[in-house]
Symmetry: none
Subunit: 121 residues, 4 copies
């Protein structure tokens, strides 16, 4: 389910965080379903449990997980979080649009690009 890319410059725990964030956002991991245990996932990926722990702590901080001592970690994606994620994405769109305009790419060019890609799918 999770693959670590050791060529990737980003720290391992961050890769894990983002992989799980995607899985949760896409709904592949359903709310209230149990996450793999810190130890078992560490074994599976053959990395240190502390690294998984750090990743889970960050996911909890971001609201994608809640942990119950002695039980495990559980998925906690809800509508509030979904909207937050949506806003983040739209903010990125806006930033990118501004950058594009500075380079002299018109709004029409972007739109055209969108339509074009549509046909490749």
């Amino acid at each position: 389910m999770i693959l670590i890319d050791y060529q990737d410059a980003r720290p391992i725990y961050e890769q894990i965080v983002e992989k799980f964030e995607k899985l949760i956002v896409r709904g592949i991991l359903e709310p209230d379903s149990q996450m793999p245990s810190v130890r078992s996932l560490a074994m599976e990926l053959s990395i240190n449990p502390n690294t998984i722990q750090k990743a889970y702590a960050e996911l909890e901080r971001r609201g994608y997980l809640y942990s119950v001592k002695g039980r495990g970690n559980y998925v906690a994606f809800n509508d509030r979080l979904k909207n937050k994620k949506k806003e983040e994405l739209l903010a990125k769109f806006l930033a990118l649009k501004n950058e594009a305009q500075e380079l002299g790419i018109s709004k029409e060019e972007i739109a055209a690009f969108f339509e074009e890609e549509e046909n490749h799918d």
Copy 2:
């Protein structure tokens, strides 16, 4: 011309690289114009010359600079580089669009967002 934000988590040399990249892409620094010398810029920003050196080396690697031994560093922005930059940007757009669709945001919603923002400028 260049301001370092110490609150920014990114390394200083990277901030400098991106600032100069923007200045060059926007045409504020014209092709073949001379860059400030490593030592003078280091003095001006009161940081280590090694940091400037590293930034310039990275800019050269990316093709935005060429250095002439004993004379200094010069801006090297051309059409090939501009197109490369353009493609990078459009690739980012596509990635973002895919991410948005996975979250269930429709193409129309993005377009609507664009129009809306247009009026705020």
Copy 3:
């Protein structure tokens, strides 16, 4: 009567302790009335009986319960306990007031806040 919040970071037994403490302090559970048995409550909440046992032991330690061997656990709220609880609360108020003053919030500001909230109820 008791609801466990698994999103709550606190251990389950502690949540149970505090819920019962509130119920007893407010007088919803009357003195000398019988508590649900360890096993029945464990069943009802579908958690481990050990967890209930631990919660009851803690409640007894704090003076809110007394247990009769072979018969069950009974509520034990009295005036002495009520005064103790009152003092605890006032001590918290004082600590909070001190903290507020260190931040530069005046006594008047707090009082004003109190009045304001009164109207929202």
Copy 4:
């Protein structure tokens, strides 16, 4: 400047976080002043650098610190943060007031208690 209480049930890193939060909020540590380095503070308190690291990371997350790689950690308290802290405090006051009323303590009783303490200072 910082003292660890090993009798305290709370984790060491959390004690450190709260101590520094207080020092920063009270203005004892001034904005943009340098924090002790991870290693030196670890030596001074004779605890592991990782524990300090964790504390500093949490302080950064809460906005009280910013860190510059290769340079150190710096205090980052500003007005926005001050207001946030203020709101937190007032929310606590409200919660406490509600709890007191459930116990049958009147607003007047609390006010009287405040005045009384005033004279002890």
